[in-house]
């Protein structure tokens, strides 16, 4: 307001009557609020749509169809020598086990009086997952004394049968599907009525390893979850101390000169570098130059550490800068050294900000896919890694890469798996954010 305006006497008016200027202002404010609400509305709608579609597609991955029947583990087939020596029994391959299961199923259906109309023994075998013989074999080799007994086995149903109970496969789609016939589905229906087939929670999806493209029903996230955890471990152990130390040095100790200015600009720029560039860097340095193994969480962790460092440094510096200078003065004025002032007073006050930044960085790293593809973490890995630290050098997969991987496979059952994996990833992210909130609360003493 200019002086002239200030000096013009206001026209006398009632405060009950809204004048034109006020009306215009109010209208502008109302418009602005409407825009804001619309923006938030669109955001929430997009989020709800995303969550609904992922959960809608993915929750079926957490349920799995099993066929439960008694199976006689015939000695003459599984242990011809009869000495229960696992080394010799290992010579019997899964092809030796498959007929046993088929036979057992056939016998059980006959005993239960379920007719196998239009389903020949080969088709009957196809209703059981190809993974089942391998699982039974592993079980027998683990405790050979069960050979010769008749035990009740829970076997994975084939992917199409599983799909039928999840409404992914229907009688109509089966007409056009060379992998399954309507007769098989009718039989499955009858078996379900007899309690031989049921669908229940699928722990294997979370704990089991991946399976090949022909066996979606057996595919699990276990190796990918472990790989992601190992990488987060590496990132946390490396990025947190390095990032915090670098920030403290830059913020509290480094002289203000060209050199530190250049470093500062570079750190800010690094935060904006596309992640795939870090992947190329990792490939060139950690694998080609340093000779670390491909697909290993240690390499993934190192690459993600490089990626996360700028985020942590920027957040930590902001947190340090937010600590009032009077606290530093107070400590220095009492004869504390600079380091004592920082570590006794500044750092504890900056802790909530540092932790939040670190967890945001970790969450970013957890969801990162591109750089991991470049360092070979996209490989098909069925072996669980050892416990760290050796396990850090074993090949593993990672959660986001597993999602990427499954979406590439042809069998539609993998869509469900990929969505399920996304849910697991989201749950991890939500947990990390909750952890961030909790840590903030703990460290943020309100005094």
């Amino acid at each position: 307001m200019t002086d002239a305006a200030a000096n013009t006497p206001r026209k006398k008016s009632s405060i009950y009557a809204t004048d034109a200027n006020t009306k215009k202002r109010n209208a502008r404010e109302a418009r602005f609020r409407a825009f804001g609400l619309t923006a938030i509305g669109i955001g929430i709608a997009a989020l709800v749509f995303l969550v609904v579609s992922i959960v809608g597609n993915g929750y079926n991955a957490f349920r799995q169809t099993y066929i439960t029947i008694p199976v006689e583990l015939a000695e003459q087939r599984l242990d011809p020598a009869g000495n229960r020596d696992p080394a010799e029994m290992a010579r019997v391959t899964t092809f030796g086990y498959a007929p046993l299961l088929a036979q057992a199923l056939q016998q059980h259906l006959q005993a239960e009086g379920i007719p196998m109309d239009g389903v020949n023994p080969r088709d009957l075998m196809a209703m059981i997952s190809q993974e089942a013989p391998a699982q039974v074999r592993a079980m027998v080799l683990a405790n050979p004394e069960i050979v010769g007994q008749t035990i009740t086995l829970e076997m994975l149903a084939g992917g199409r049968i599983d799909g039928y109970f999840k409404n992914r496969v229907t009688l109509e789609s089966a007409e056009r599907d060379s992998n399954v016939s309507p007769a098989q589905l009718m039989l499955a229906e009858a078996m379900a009525a007899a309690g031989i087939i049921d669908t229940r929670f699928n722990w294997r999806f979370i704990t089991g390893p991946d399976a090949s493209g022909q066996r979606p029903e057996a595919a699990g996230l276990g190796v990918a979850i472990l790989g992601s955890l190992y990488m987060m471990l590496v990132v946390l152990v490396l990025a947190l101390p390095i990032g915090v130390a670098a920030s403290i040095y830059l913020e509290e100790f480094a002289p203000q000169n060209r050199f530190t200015d250049i470093i500062e600009v570079n750190i800010s720029n690094l935060a904006a570098v596309p992640s795939i560039v870090f992947g190329i860097l990792g490939l060139a340095i950690f694998i080609n130059f340093a000779g670390l193994p491909q697909s290993a969480p240690i390499v993934g962790g190192l690459v993600l550490t490089l990626m996360t460092l700028p985020t942590i440094i920027i957040a930590t510096r902001a947190a340090l800068r937010a600590v009032p200078p009077s606290i530093r003065d107070a400590a220095l004025g009492l004869g504390a050294s600079k380091m004592q002032a920082v570590f006794h007073h500044v750092l504890p006050l900056a802790m909530p900000g540092i932790l939040t930044g670190t967890i945001i960085g970790l969450a970013q790293a957890l969801g990162e896919t591109a750089p991991l593809l470049l360092i070979g973490m996209v490989a098909f890995v069925r072996e669980f890694p050892d416990a760290p630290p050796e396990g850090l050098f074993d090949p593993t997969s990672a959660l986001p890469v597993q999602v990427f991987n499954w979406t590439q496979r042809s069998d539609p059952a993998f869509v469900e798996r990929a969505s399920g994996a996304t849910i697991v990833l989201l749950v991890f992210l939500v947990c990390m954010n909750l952890l961030a909130v909790m840590l903030r609360r703990r460290f943020e003493r309100r005094w």
């Binding site: 003065d329 107070a330 004025g333 009492l334 004869g335 504390a336 005094w447």
Partner: protein, 265 residues
Amino acid sequence: MNDMRVVDRAVDAQDLKIDAKNVDVFYGTTHAIKGVNVEIQDKTVTAFIGPSGCGKSTFLRCLNRMNDTIDICRVTGDIRLEGEDIYHAKVDPVQLRAKVGMVFQKPNPFPKSIYDNVAYGPRIHGLAGNKADLDEIVEKSLKRAALWNEVKDRLDAPGTGLSGGQQQRLCIARAVATGPEVLLMDEPCSALDPIATAQVEELIDELRSRFSVVIVTHSMQQAARVSQKTAFFHLGELVEYDDTTQIFTNPKDPRTESYITGRIG
């Protein structure tokens, strides 16, 4: 609070505590302090007065080398604490600051308990052998800062939860606990209400029995009430330095006279 009555207090000792000669301070190219000479006596309250921006704080911060923490600040001249050059290459400013304590304009207790605030100095300087010693130092310091009775039942309560005046007394207790020889106070009452100010002023007078106190104030009344010596700064120069009585009743420099009669400032 507006009386200009100069409290007549005998100056107990005449020992020289700090001797500053030809002190110049530069912030980059700004010449903030110009050739200042001051002798500060032991067991005396010395007040620095002057209009704001004249360099009182800057000069005060030279005396415990707090200016070292400002990158662009450069101090030249000769400042001696009991004859020892505090800017000598061998001097560790950290050690110096344990001897020359400081209380700041805005109360700045640590966001820790009252006990931990006071105990911090003794802890980092290793002044207490055990918990009992530390308890004793804390109690003595809080008593000396006239805060003990108010907080003795809640030593675990956060220092930042106290009132402004209590916080400033806590900061004084914290400074006293380190066992300094000189206590520098930069406008310690500017954020306080009149009652809290009166309490702190009373406290300053008591502290004089053990320390040499240097207090910066923009209030001439306060200088008149608490100090025995007064230095008047103007535009980075020390205009006049004399007994407080002398400055307020019989200023030699016309600028001092204008300031204390309220014409500049």
